[in-house]
């Protein structure tokens, strides 16, 4: 028992240990004495004493943590706060530094989490595909739908059709024109979704003659009905007909193609018979490649049984976030970059706290002399760091919220579509942000706290003496920080060069002054092909007559997949391509788009009738006929033989990065055959000025006709480079922040060094040293630190070069211009950062040195 007591007494502060032991020994002895008098069992007494010794541990700990006269945690926190208030500049620097790091990390993590880690919330989401039809369009025709339904069992375990339409809602405040879907009644069940409010459709709702019911989108419910729970049972007018609201859809529907729907109505079957979007879920044993092969077979079978003027295509596009590897890689690059920045911020904060620890040595020594233990001193410094980290965490979360709002406007459109809510902070990211602040406390506070605890009682005095060890540590920290900044700067420089290269690529057409208009479901809206063709002709004529319009053309693009392309009979230069972009165009298309015919001629109306001619772009012509002219030669696409009548300049319809490969072929088509295709409108001035007129024109011709998209050529081009532009902007911001933090660190270190060496500088000035020499020394020292950071940073950049190679366009990851530029920029920042401290050093007068003696 006494042995146990002695072990416990180790916890008691030395000054009270003897008394404590005596007290407890006396109580135990008295207890034994009483037990003997009462003839109590020895085992029972021992057991009772062991339990009381547990209380002895608590007593000893209490004495350790709070001796008489020693402060509690509350007092320590108040003391730390007072201490920070006396140094607002230091506190603000640390809070801003950590807030920038935590804010950026939280914002980017939210983005990556929302876009990559958050699973798409549909049942069997990884097997859900959308079937794309003719021209890569979002709807398929009646024959395709019938074939898909018949064939469904081979590769799909569930299918559902939904047909888009434009509807006008009245009867609830202002009229609301929006996109509607007619869906098969099992639509929500197939996706595994439940309405946010009310109920979904039943088979009875889909019966002809049943009560007209509608589901409202979450967005519509929010905007028009202010999320009123009593929206259920209300009557709304859609195109003049009354419908009863039976439910509100979940917001996740946005993840689907044409996902920005406002109304969902049950289809009786008629609405989804033709020009319909088609969703299917692959069987678990069927891969996407196998399913795509089956779709190609189906398309060829349909071409044989129901021939059309041009090849059918049935593409499968996964609904799941199946972004190109480059985008995923890009997001991971961003995450790595921002973690780099967080590290820079932590290192910067650690440096600031370390310097403060050194400068406070006299104060901490005084505390020690007045009775504070090493534990108390370390606790004080840690509590200070914790207060700073909590303040930085709160500021960081606020910064993150602002950054996310800003990023949402920059996000490429195809990424926004994948976010079913606006990207916003959620509880998990908030918890991650707070965890990051705790981590930064540990990283930023432990080192200086331990340094302070180790050196706190070394010496008291008015002056602060800095050991070489201190300086080495601080310098090492600064070099590491600058190295990280160089990595980020290099990344930003590389992406900047890459983006410049991308934008320098000739597109082969003139993207300025063109509008692209896509309509949906023409045949379902207008009925028979003749009426649809008549509508299209009327539309084109009215578009051409608009003031500011020079010409109108039509184009339907598509993708040949797994196609063999060769020349003539000898198959010279033949290749099998995974994808080959093709466009069916009317004769006026090339003039409207500004595509130059470099060899041969454009299409005539006669070509469309013959359907055996083709125009190719220069890349394809050179590949297949490197020796001479392509015009007049034969091109083989699968079993078809086509005569080349013209060669265009290299055209990049899908943007400068050519995502579908460098080759492009054009097929001739009549306007009537292209009735469902995209209209291309050439304008004299800014095409944006014509957007309202075009919308109004379509509305005027037929209010039921939905517009799928109306964009300018620049917008389309912008979307094609949205990913690299987004990466560039974010990386540039991160690099800018990192360089700023690095410069602040260099400034702080230089100032610290000048302050430490004030006496020495004063003595040297007294002995005749020129101010210029002092300035040179300070600046040179700063530049040497910068050079150290640059060297390590460039080496690190070279190491990670391979990871970012695929994200760059026309630029090597070891591009000397980018690496050299980053190095120079950082050295320039170091130079600027040392100027003020250098000026301060130059102003030191010899009399200051004497005063310090």
């Amino acid at each position: 028992m006494d042995g146990l007591l002695r072990v416990i007494s180790i916890l008691v502060p030395r000054s009270r240990r003897a008394d404590w032991l005596a007290e407890w020994r006396a109580e135990i002895a008295h207890d034994f004495m009483l037990a003997a008098r009462r003839r109590q069992s020895g085992a029972w007494v021992q057991l009772r004493l062991v339990r009381r010794l547990a209380g002895a541990v608590a007593d000893a700990l209490w004495l350790r943590l709070r001796r008489s006269g020693a402060p509690g945690w509350g007092w320590t926190a108040r003391d730390a706060t007072r201490s920070l208030r006396r140094h607002p500049g230091f506190a603000a620097s640390v809070v801003v530094t950590l807030a920038l790091g935590v804010g950026a990390a939280t914002a980017i993590f939210t983005l990556v989490d929302g876009l990559m880690l958050e699973p798409i919330p549909f049942e069997g989401a990884d097997r859900l595909v959308s079937v794309n039809g003719y021209g890569g369009g979002l709807t398929v025709g009646a024959e395709e739908i019938a074939a898909l339904r018949e064939d469904a069992g081979r590769v799909f375990d569930a299918t559902v059709a939904y047909a888009p339409r434009s509807l006008l809602m009245t009867g609830s405040g202002d009229a609301w024109s929006g996109l509607a879907w007619y869906v098969e009644h099992h639509f929500l069940e197939m996706l595994g979704l439940a309405p946010a409010l009310g109920r979904g459709f039943t088979p009875e709702d889909a019966q002809p003659g049943s009560e007209r019911v509608v589901l409202l989108s979450h967005e519509l419910w929010r905007q028009v009905f202010a999320r009123a729970p009593d929206v259920l049972g209300r009557t709304v007018e859609l195109d003049g007909e009354p419908f009863t609201v039976i439910g509100v859809l979940p917001p996740t529907l946005r993840r689907l193609p044409l996902g920005l729907v406002h109304f969902v109505l049950p289809s009786t079957g008629e609405e989804v018979r033709d020009q319909t979007s088609f969703l299917a879920r692959l069987q678990t044993s069927v891969t996407l490649e196998v399913a795509r092969e089956r779709m190609s077979q189906l398309a060829r079978e349909l071409d044989r049984t129901h021939p059309r003027e041009s090849d059918r295509s049935l593409g499968l596009v996964p609904v799941q976030r199946n972004q190109a590897e480059e985008v995923t890689r890009g997001l991971w690059t961003l995450l790595a970059a921002v973690l780099c920045l967080l590290l820079v911020a932590c290192v910067n904060a650690a440096g600031l706290l370390f310097v403060r620890g050194v400068v406070r040595r006299p104060e901490l020594a005084l505390r020690g002399a007045l009775g504070s233990s090493r534990v108390d001193i370390v606790r004080h410094v840690l509590v200070e760091s914790a207060i700073l980290a909590l303040a930085a965490g709160a500021a960081g979360v606020l910064l993150a919220w602002i950054a996310i709002r800003g990023m949402s406007t920059l996000l490429p459109a195809h990424l926004i579509r994948f976010s079913y809510t606006t990207v916003e902070l959620d509880g998990r990211v908030l918890a991650a942000a707070l965890a990051m602040t705790v981590l930064t406390v540990l990283v930023s506070g432990v080192l200086p706290a331990l340094e302070a605890g180790r050196n706190g009682a070394v010496r008291a005095g008015r002056s602060v003496t800095v050991s070489r060890h201190d300086v080495r540590v601080r310098t090492g920290v600064q070099v590491a920080q600058l190295a990280l900044a160089v990595v980020l700067l290099t990344g930003a420089a590389l992406f900047g060069r890459s983006f410049a290269e991308l934008m320098d690529v000739s597109l082969g057409y003139d993207p300025d002054r063109i509008l692209l208009l896509d309509l949906v479901s023409l045949e379902r809206v207008h009925g028979a092909p003749e009426r649809t063709a008549a509508f299209a002709r009327e539309l084109d004529a009215r578009l051409a007559a608009l003031p500011g319009v020079v010409g109108v053309g039509r184009v339907a693009w598509g993708l040949h997949t797994d196609v063999r392309v060769g020349s003539g009979d000898d198959d010279q230069g033949a290749q099998t391509l995974e994808m080959l972009l093709h466009s069916s165009v009317d004769p006026g298309y090339f003039g409207v788009m500004g595509i130059e015919i470099v060899e041969g001629r454009a299409f005539t109306s006669g070509d469309a009738e013959v359907s055996s001619t083709v125009i190719v772009d220069r890349d394809l012509a050179v590949a297949l006929w490197p020796d001479g002219r392509a015009v007049g030669r034969t091109l083989r696409i699968r079993e078809r033989a086509l005569t080349v009548v013209g060669v265009t300049e290299d055209v990049k319809l899908e943007g400068p990065s050519d995502p579908y490969g460098p080759w492009l072929i054009f097929y001739p088509a009549t306007r009537d055959r292209l009735r469902g295709a995209t209209s291309v409108i050439r304008t004299t001035g800014d095409p944006r000025a014509l957007l309202p007129s075009v919308r109004a024109l379509v509305q005027e011709l037929d209010p039921r006709q939905p517009i799928a998209s109306l964009r300018t050529g620049r917008q389309v081009l912008g979307e094609s480079v949205a990913d690299p532009r987004f990466l560039l902007v974010v990386l540039s911001v991160l690099a800018g922040v990192a360089v700023t933090l690095g410069a602040i660190g260099v400034y702080g270190l230089a100032t610290f060094t000048v302050v430490q060496r004030t006496r020495e500088i004063g003595v040297r000035r007294a002995l005749g040293a020129q101010a210029g020499r002092v300035v040179r020394e300070v600046v040179t020292r700063g530049l040497w630190i910068g050079l150290g950071g640059v060297a390590i940073g460039l080496a690190a950049s070279v190491l990670v070069a391979g990871f970012v190679r695929s994200l760059l366009f026309g630029v090597s990851p070891l591009d000397p211009l980018a690496l050299g530029g980053a190095a120079l920029a950082l050295l320039a920042a170091c130079l600027v950062a040392t100027l003020l401290p250098a000026r301060r050093a130059a102003r030191v007068q010899p009399s200051e040195a004497l005063r310090l003696e």
Binding site: A22, E23, R25, A26, E27, A29, H30, D31, M33, L34, A35, R48, R51, R52, L53, A54, G55, A56, V57, A58, D59, W62, L63, S68
Partner: protein
């Protein structure tokens, strides 16, 4: 200083003349890990003062002297307030101390 129920109980026990650590544990039923920190806090707040019992008494029983806690004047005034604040405490204790209490299990 915050007067919790355990603190009030210890004060009441002191007011009843129970002045030794284990004695207070026995009479209140509180654990050693509760009683001793309360005694330390009361002593820090100068509501209680401690001293070693007379050596002669301890020697007569062949044991080391124990530490005795008794209330200061301020402590006694506080104990009066505590009595009013926790009237049920009166029912937990018997008459003022006379003899050794039975040890709590």
């Amino acid at each position: 200083m915050r007067i919790t129920f355990p603190t009030a109980t210890v004060l009441y026990a002191l007011a009843r003349g129970h002045g030794y650590g284990f004695e207070i544990i026995d009479v209140t039923g509180l654990g050693a890990g509760t009683v001793y920190p309360i005694l330390r806090r009361l002593e820090t707040a100068e509501l209680v003062a401690s001293s070693w019992e007379p050596v002669e008494r301890a020697r007569a029983e062949s044991r080391p002297p124990r530490r005795n806690y008794r209330m200061t004047a301020v402590g006694e005034r506080l104990a009066e307030e505590v009595r009013d604040q926790y009237p049920a405490l009166a029912g937990l204790f018997g008459s003022p101390s006379g003899g050794e209490p039975e040890p709590a299990s």
